[in-house]
């Protein structure tokens, strides 16, 4: 237990980096504690490994909020490592994130980000703004940069309901922690392009919740159709993608029954098309 005076600030992430660096992510590449990186090696050749992470996660806006969804498959090379992985996680009452990348660091980042926001809220007595949360996540992605050079990429999508503006918001990130706001929809991961194509075809402003959810699931379905690393609905085992709705009233999970109904209709439609 630390004593007075208090110069720790309100960030759990910083607290961890200072007091328990063994538990914290490696820190920015210029920090003296992080190991030296093969940044200067090679001549001109990019040290960055190709960003391949088998997954598809996406977010799409509707009138009252945002749908955030992802498939459930984890792969190890050409093997399936898991069929029930949760890639979409609730962060706090009004935001959720979905991550593409190496499973271990992904789960760690989600957990750390959850703790970070709760920690801030408890210390300061109020929540961070939606913008503040998105920025903080950007800093955490940036702190993971040293790991990226070792092939452990972690890229999130962050979705929050901005209570002040009264609208849902979608943020995407690059590996350097760059933060970009998307106005309508976004998808990342190995099947991200296919999912984006589907959403581009069907998206319009002022979608209803039901329509947005249907488009999200259709996008995941199409991505699974094209991308081996993205899992489709597993009708035999009864495993469906996971989806959450982020709106003014908080976060709610989309239950399996609802998924089942939407997918049944979807598959029926596909059969008719031949």
């Amino acid at each position: 237990m630390q004593r007075v005076p208090d110069d720790e600030g309100s960030s759990f992430f910083d607290y961890l980096a200072r007091h328990r660096p063994d538990l914290a992510p490696p820190g920015p590449p210029w920090s003296p504690t992080s190991s030296s990186l093969p940044l200067s090696e090679g001549s001109g050749a990019s040290p960055l490994p190709p960003v391949t992470h088998g997954t598809t996660v996406l977010a799409i806006k509707y009138q009252g909020g945002v749908v955030i969804a992802g498939d459930r498959r984890a792969t190890e090379g050409s093997q399936i490592a898991g069929r029930r992985i949760e890639k979409v996680s609730k962060v706090d009452e009004h935001s959720a994130m979905a991550i593409a990348g190496a499973a271990g660091p992904c789960l760690e980042m989600a957990k750390l980000f959850q703790t970070e926001l709760e920690h801030y809220e408890k210390l300061e007595g109020l929540q961070l703004s939606c913008e503040g949360k998105a920025n903080k996540l950007g800093q955490m992605v940036k702190a993971n940069l040293p790991m990226v050079f070792q092939g452990l990429v972690v890229i999130p999508i962050y979705v929050g309901y901005d209570l002040k503006r009264g609208e849902g918001r979608i943020f995407k990130y690059d590996i350097t922690g760059g933060r970009y706001e998307e106005s309508d929809y976004h998808a990342i991961g190995s099947g991200g392009k296919d999912a984006r194509n589907t959403m581009r075809e069907h998206f319009r402003k002022t979608l209803s919740e039901e329509d947005a959810l249907r488009i999200a699931l259709l996008a995941l379905y199409n991505a699974a159709d094209e991308d081996v690393s993205t899992g489709g609905p597993d009708l035999v085992r009864g495993i469906y993608p996971s989806a959450k709705l982020v709106s003014a009233s908080g976060i709610s999970d989309v239950d399996d029954e609802r998924m089942k109904t939407i997918y049944a209709a979807l598959i029926e439609e596909r059969k008719k098309e031949g």
Partner: protein
């Protein structure tokens, strides 16, 4: 070289304790009370932004009486301790007992080693789940720790409050309404004035909530419960 004045350790401790007690008695009081679905915390606190009651973790709340800057630092240290432990192990491994012990150690060390003791008295409470009992720990400026049952009072005229509550808190665990009425009565009794909900800081650890059990009751809601 002049000899330093000799002060017997007994005298020194007594002086420190007196100093701390005086500081704590200047403040207002706080009551924690078990009710049927959790633990209720009521503080005589007219400020709407400077809190004396706070959430520490899923099932754990904190309240401090005495010097604001000092118990505020203890509160923050507690949150860091709890969040670190929950992150390192698991959420269910964060307990009020371990936290109360930590506080006791810190306060005890400061009391015996520093020139000025902390002028604080704190409460760490945990709502029990799955038929486990609630836990109420009262920790004093010198690090002494007391495990209370039913209710606990700190700050201001805590002893008078204890006496008042001892007579009135009997029988079955009260409902939220009965507990709140009793707490307000007790605080009004020792301050000899009417305390409207706007002048009180009220929060509960509600067993029925999922995840984080801590919730503040805004004045409008307290008024409704009291009505």
């Amino acid at each position: 070289m002049p000899l330093p004045y000799y002060v017997s350790p007994e005298q020194m401790m007594q002086d420190k304790a007196e100093y701390a007690k005086k500081g704590i008695a200047k403040g207002r009081s706080i009551i924690a009370m078990e009710y049927r679905d959790g633990v209720l915390l009521v503080a005589d606190n007219p400020s709407v932004s400077l809190f004396k009651i706070s959430e520490i973790y899923d099932n754990i709340a904190f309240s401090g009486a005495g010097k604001y800057s000092e118990f505020e630092n203890l509160r923050k240290a507690g949150i860091r301790h709890a969040d670190l432990k929950g992150y390192m192990y698991s959420r269910e491994d964060v307990t009020a007992r371990s936290l109360a012990n930590g506080y006791s150690q810190s306060l005890g060390t400061i009391f015996s080693q520093e020139l000025k003791p902390l002028e604080v008295e704190i409460l760490v409470v945990q709502v029990g789940e799955h038929d486990r009992p609630n836990e109420l720990y009262r920790i004093s400026f010198d690090g002494s720790i007391i495990d209370e049952r039913g209710y606990a009072a700190i700050g201001g005229r805590a002893e008078a409050l204890q006496v008042f509550l001892k007579e009135r808190y009997k029988g079955d665990t009260p409902t939220l309404k009965a507990a709140l009425v009793l707490c307000v009565e007790a605080l009004e009794n020792i301050t000899n004035q009417k305390l409207p909900p706007e002048g009180l800081e009220i929060a509960v650890l509600d067993r029925a909530r999922a995840g984080r059990k801590f919730r503040r009751l805004p004045p409008a809601e307290s008024r409704q419960i009291l009505a």
